[in-house]
Each structure stands twice: as structure tokens, then as C-alpha cells.
């Protein structure tokens, strides 16, 4: 099964990729690992006339600890993120999420930038980046801007990224006091994508949870914060009771029709899983305390 014909350009720098995007406009797509785009092209769900391969731009690869921030290049593969001690130590939820993407071969090719830009509702990385309070650094023809993960995911396959922009880094705050986090998912038994996945991030002062961020993907049209669970946790003592109370409030503020529904899982079932996986994510995070 061949993808449809396209013109291929290989960008050697971000500037070159940006000017190619300017030149070819809506007909062009960036190509990173290709593990969302190539399958879509093979099935003709996407037919870009131009592919701009950014896969060889070394400046967009790798993980750095920059003061209190973890800075991850968008071309960093899921495998490298999952294996990184810096990510495991400072942003465990992201290492967890990258480690459960698809399978070994997919993790060896797929990248964090492509995963966030594609914004598949069933992707694993968006909830982790959102719960960790991440920021997406984006560059376009008018320079760079930073978008909080809270504002980045806007809907089904829809983000704040403009068609002429490139993700140049993902920044995760990693300073401050004691923070624990985890991501767990219920994988679709055939595709491996998240039916529901929950990321939980807790700031701790001794046994007290001073603040919490909890986010889910799979359940909704894009990754969303679970504010009911967050409020239940803030100020609580880390305990099974606090976890149960948060899990109980996981779906608070959402309507039945906010939940995705398909032949595999109804919206009711997803709402149920949301509570179960909120509990499991919190348990796993606190086991790391």
C-alpha cells in the first residue's frame, strides 16, 4: 500500500522548514517520525501534496535539564523519553506515558512533537504533558511563542498550532518542592491506544498534598484536566480515602456527551473507567513518594 504521490523536501534547519511551510502553505505537512502521518496517507485519510521532512534537524532532538525546567526536543522518540533518567526522575508521568505508546517499534520512531501536534484523542502524551503543567514552544514566521499545555489542546485533532508553525520544544517545569507523578491507561486491546488514560501529578509537603493536577486522554475529544479530582486532593492528607474521594469526583463537571463513544467503549463505560484510572494513577504516583 503506497502513500499517494507527494513532493519531498528535507529541511536541514528550523528556518528552512519554516520557509518551506510558507512557500507551500496548506498543501504541505511536516514529517517527523511518520507514525501517524504515513498510516493516514496510506489509507488516503491525508493526502498532502508536499512533505517537509524535519527528521534530520539535530537541534530538535534530545532532552536537557535547564535549571528548573526539563526541555525536550520535539523529535525525541517515545523510546528515548521512556528510557531517560532525567524524565523518570523529574516527570515520571511522561516517562510512563511514552513507555506505553503502541509497541517497541512504534516507540522507536514516533516523536513527542508529532504526538502532541497530531492530538489524537486516544494518544498518551497529551494528558501527561497537561498534568505536568508543560509548555509548548512554537516557532512561526513571526518568531517564537510559548503555549501552555492548558491552551494547546483544543479539540479532536485540533491544537493551538498554526499551519505555518513548528513545535521547537516541550518544556516541563521540574523545580520546586517534592513532586510525584504517574500515568496509567486502559489500552484498546487491538490498537493499544488509550481508551482512557490518566496522568496525576501531586505536590507534597510531608503527608499533605499541597496541590494536584490530574488530566485524562481517551475519554474526551482531547486531553482535559479533571478539576473535581484536583479539588478533592488539594490540601488533603495523602491516603486511600483522599484517593477514593478524588476518583469519585473524576467526572465532575463533564456531561454524558462530553465522553467519547465508539463500538468498543460507550460513554458510560469511559466515564466509569475515568474513576478507576484516576484511582490507579494516584496510587502509582503516591507509591513513588
Amino acid at each position: 500500500m503506497y502513500p499517494p504521490k507527494f513532493d519531498y523536501y528535507r529541511a536541514t534547519s528550523v528556518d528552512e522548514a519554516l520557509s518551506l511551510l510558507q512557500q507551500h502553505g496548506d498543501n504541505a505537512k511536516l514529517l517527523a517520525g511518520g507514525h501517524s502521518l504515513i498510516p493516514l496517507m496510506k489509507t488516503r485519510l491525508a493526502q498532502p501534496a508536499v512533505l517537509i521532512d524535519i527528521g534530520r534537524i539535530d537541534a530538535l532532538k534530545g532532552i536537557q535539564v535547564d535549571g528548573d525546567t526539563l526541555r525536550i526536543g520535539p523529535l525525541t522518540t517515545h523510546a528515548d523519553i521512556a528510557a531517560s533518567e532525567d524524565v523518570q526522575g523529574r516527570a515520571a508521568a511522561l516517562a510512563d506515558a511514552a513507555g506505553v505508546v503502541g509497541d517497541v517499534q512504534v516507540r522507536n520512531r514516533g516523536t513527542i512533537g508529532g504526538n502532541l501536534a497530531h492530538a489524537d484523542p486516544a494518544s498518551d502524551l497529551p494528558a501527561a504533558v497537561l498534568a505536568l503543567g508543560g509548555e509548548i514552544e512554537v516557532r512561526g514566521p513571526n518568531g517564537s511563542r510559548t503555549v501552555a499545555a492548558d491552551d494547546f489542546f483544543q479539540g479532536l485533532f485540533t491544537t493551538a498550532l498554526g499551519g505555518d508553525e513548528i513545535i521547537t520544544a516541550i518544556r516541563i517545569p521540574a523545580g520546586g518542592g517534592k513532586r510525584v507523578s504517574a500515568y496509567v491507561k486502559f489500552p484498546h486491546p487491538a490498537s493499544g491506544y488509550a481508551v482512557v488514560g490518566v496522568a496525576a501529578v501531586l505536590e507534597l509537603d510531608g503527608q499533605t498534598i499541597t496541590s494536584a493536577r490530574v488530566a485524562a486522554n481517551g475519554a474526551f475529544e482531547c486531553a482535559k484536566r479533571l478539576t473535581g479530582a484536583e479539588q478533592a486532593l488539594a490540601g488533603a492528607t495523602a491516603s486511600d480515602e483522599a484517593i477514593a474521594a478524588a476518583a469519585q469526583r473524576a467526572a465532575e463537571g463533564f456531561n454524558a456527551d462530553d465522553f467519547m463513544s465508539d463500538i468498543f467503549a460507550s460513554s458510560e463505560y469511559r466515564a466509569h473507567l475515568l474513576g478507576v484510572y484516576t484511582r490507579r494513577a494516584l496510587q502509582k504516583a503516591l507509591e513513588r513518594a
Binding site: 500500500m1 507527494f6 511518520g34 507514525h35 504515513i38 512533505l51 523510546a79 509497541d103 512504534v106
Partner: protein
């Protein structure tokens, strides 16, 4: 577009259309038909090869993306007429029936043993998650990888 590849130690330069997939270069241009296409939708792993040291699904890599890389396919495992320990172990343990998944299964197992020379049964099953076998039920594949791990 001209690309260069080193496949099983041998350098090649080939002229490809940008939309050509790595698996088709291997099979249709270089005549290395050991690598199979099973699903063609990135699920089954039959097309797995090692690209610059990493197991990848060659039906989901454009040949132009592989330009300049080193590829190892199933044909590159046997040396001087001697089967690779993984190949022998699959044979000994009846790790295949129809054999269609086997080249990809062995290449992923090869990658697993490079990164983790002594995997537990669970690690083997997890490591082979991206490879689907419709025949064996996997038990004998796991046994084969265990035997190969001991012998390598």
C-alpha cells in the same frame, strides 16, 4: 531521488520515488524478500527490520527517511552458512507454524536481546508486543527467545 543504504553490511545506492516505503526497497528493488508485509497498517510487525540499531516497522518508514542508514534484515543474521542462535532456537522450539510472522518476530527478538540480554518471560512478551502471530499462540516463540538468550 537517490538514496544510499547499507543493508546487511553491503552498500547500495538506489533511485526511489519519495513515496516508496523501505519495505518495498528491500523486497522489490534489492530482492531481499525475507522481510514480509503482513498488515501494511503498522500493526503486525512482520516487516520489522533493524535500522541504525533500532527495530522499526519498515512498512511505516519511507525509503527517503532511511537514506544513509544501516539496515539489518533476516537475511543478514546467518553467518558463513551457520544459522543465528535465534534462528536455531525458533527451529528447535517449534517457534513457527506458517512462518509468515517469523522474520519480523526474530528481528524484534534480536533487538530485545541487544537491549536486554537476559529478559524474563514477561519482558519477552512485552518486547514482542508489536509482532502478531496468527498460528503459534506465542508460547513456543517465548521459549525460543529464552533459549536463544542462554546461547548468545
Amino acid at each position: 531521488m537517490h538514496i544510499s543504504l547499507t543493508v546487511n553490511g553491503q552498500p547500495y545506492t538506489v533511485d526511489v520515488e519519495p513515496r516508496m516505503l523501505l519495505v518495498h526497497v528491500l523486497r522489490d528493488v534489492l530482492d531481499l524478500t525475507g522481510t514480509n508485509v503482513g498488515c501494511d497498517t503498522s500493526q503486525c510487525g512482520a516487516c520489522t527490520v533493524i535500522m541504525d540499531g533500532r527495530a522499526v516497522k519498515s512498512c511505516t518508514v519511507l525509503a527517503v527517511q532511511a537514506d544513509g542508514s544501516e539496515i539489518l534484515t533476516i537475511e543478514g543474521l546467518a553467518k558463513d552458512g551457520e544459522l543465528h542462535p535465534l534462528q536455531e532456537a525458533f527451529w528447535n522450539n517449534h517457534g513457527l507454524q506458517c512462518g509468515y510472522c517469523t522474520p519480523g518476530m526474530i528481528m524484534t527478538a534480536y533487538y530485545l536481546l541487544q537491549t536486554n540480554p537476559n529478559p524474563s518471560e514477561e519482558e519477552i512478551r512485552h518486547g514482542l508486543e508489536g509482532n502478531i502471530c496468527r498460528c503459534t499462540g506465542y508460547h513456543n516463540i517465548v521459549r525460543a527467545v529464552q533459549e536463544a538468550a542462554q546461547r548468545m
